[in-house]
Symmetry: C2
């Protein structure tokens, strides 16, 4: 059985304000929750239709109907868990990092976190306008990768001003990434907002403008989605590291 | 003003059955509609809150409230148009083609169509279980690219059995795509279903299994989203064509 207070708490965690206040976030689905349980994350409570066999104070068996009442998904998947939001670790600039300049779509951020995990990028830096990575839709889209990528929210302009590594950014007029001679194994790759790309203040700090060449007959103004552009650029950076 | 019949027709076009019966589909948003008007597509009618200045039998000015009543979007964007579904052209096997084995998510199909357009892939082949490319969510996600990619729905197994070009497919145990010696400029790249990957019957017809290497500490069972995997593979095929 779910108490009224439990329902209220879970519902509140849809909003960033309440996640920050309580330092808690929601993850859903058996597979994701099992993966999160294997990480360093601290479980607050799991609500499930089948037992997880955790200590009894951490687990409540609930009906499908109750799960539907609290789930953020159209099709709830057997379990919903509340975890503590972990502390970010310091950013390690000895490896390639990805920075997001106000990416707003939860699906895009989730996909990018998953890509970072795939390509062994351990540090993701988000400008303060970027959607919260503990938004339930983001957590869902990362499929567990969120536990393996260190995510810091900060003022990107101040951060970039103080570092001394190459700062890459994707721009239409940039140098062809496929033939670029100097894709470093350290540096920060900045990806921009869905509608406006990289902002002017951040653009001024980019040291290497790179471009994914267009092979089709698209118009000048068209661009790739930020998550697919990130996948292509990370693939290209990492391919080089194999060949070196 | 919108008539009851017009509202009924537009609503019906949400369903594939009715799109097939009427040979019509819906596109929304000023930018997408303008792009579609510049293509070979035949407009049936546009409903907009601002005039498009087309011939009067093709255009109806409607209120925002009316647009909200018929729009498939949460935030309608000034116009909704009904176009005729174009006839597919024959598949040109002298160029690299992409084939989808039952991709189900409209957002993924839309992104893949956009990627095909970006990378100059003119032919997209869809197994019959793949989501309909004239589904409103797919049309929306393609952002106009749907007019520049020739899409054929067919029985993929029979099709692949009859062709004589390399058939590539992404598999965990495939050859590293970055160091693969033989990425041809012709051939068919098969991408699989979101949950199950490439089906067994299609897998048996793949002549070149390729893999995107994992650099992170992901588990064996994890994989990339089908749209991001497609972006990385197309990038790699096309990069080679620059260097050749």
């Amino acid at each position: 059985m779910l108490s009224k207070n439990q329902i209220k708490l879970i519902n509140k965690l849809k909003l960033k304000k309440h996640r920050v206040e309580s330092n808690l976030f929601v993850a859903e689905g058996i597979k994701t929750i099992k993966e999160l349980l294997q990480s360093d994350l601290k479980l607050q409570h799991v609500y499930a239709t089948e037992p997880f066999n955790l200590e009894s104070t951490k687990e409540t068996l609930i009906s499908e109907t109750d799960l539907k009442r609290v789930s953020f998904l159209t099709t709830p998947n057997q379990a919903l868990a509340v975890f503590e939001i972990p502390k970010s670790k310091p950013i390690d600039l000895s490896q390639l990092c990805v920075a997001l300049d106000d990416v707003r779509d939860p699906g895009n951020l989730g996909t990018i976190i998953r890509l970072c995990d795939w390509f062994g990028i351990h540090n993701l830096i988000c400008n303060k306008g970027t959607v919260d990575c503990f938004n339930p839709k983001v957590v869902q889209a990362t499929m567990g990768s969120i536990t393996r990528v260190n995510i810091n929210y900060l003022d990107l302009e101040s951060f970039l001003k103080e570092i001394d590594v190459p700062i890459y950014g994707a721009f239409m007029e940039g140098e062809n990434v496929y033939t670029h001679k100097n894709l470093s194994e350290t540096g920060v790759l900045v990806m921009g907002n869905e509608a406006n790309g990289v902002s002017k203040t951040i653009e001024a700090l980019i040291t290497e403008k790179i471009a994914i060449p267009r092979f089709g007959e698209l118009k000048e103004t068209e661009s790739l989605n930020v998550a697919t552009a990130t996948s292509i650029l990370l693939s290209e950076f990492k391919r080089r590291s194999i060949e070196m």
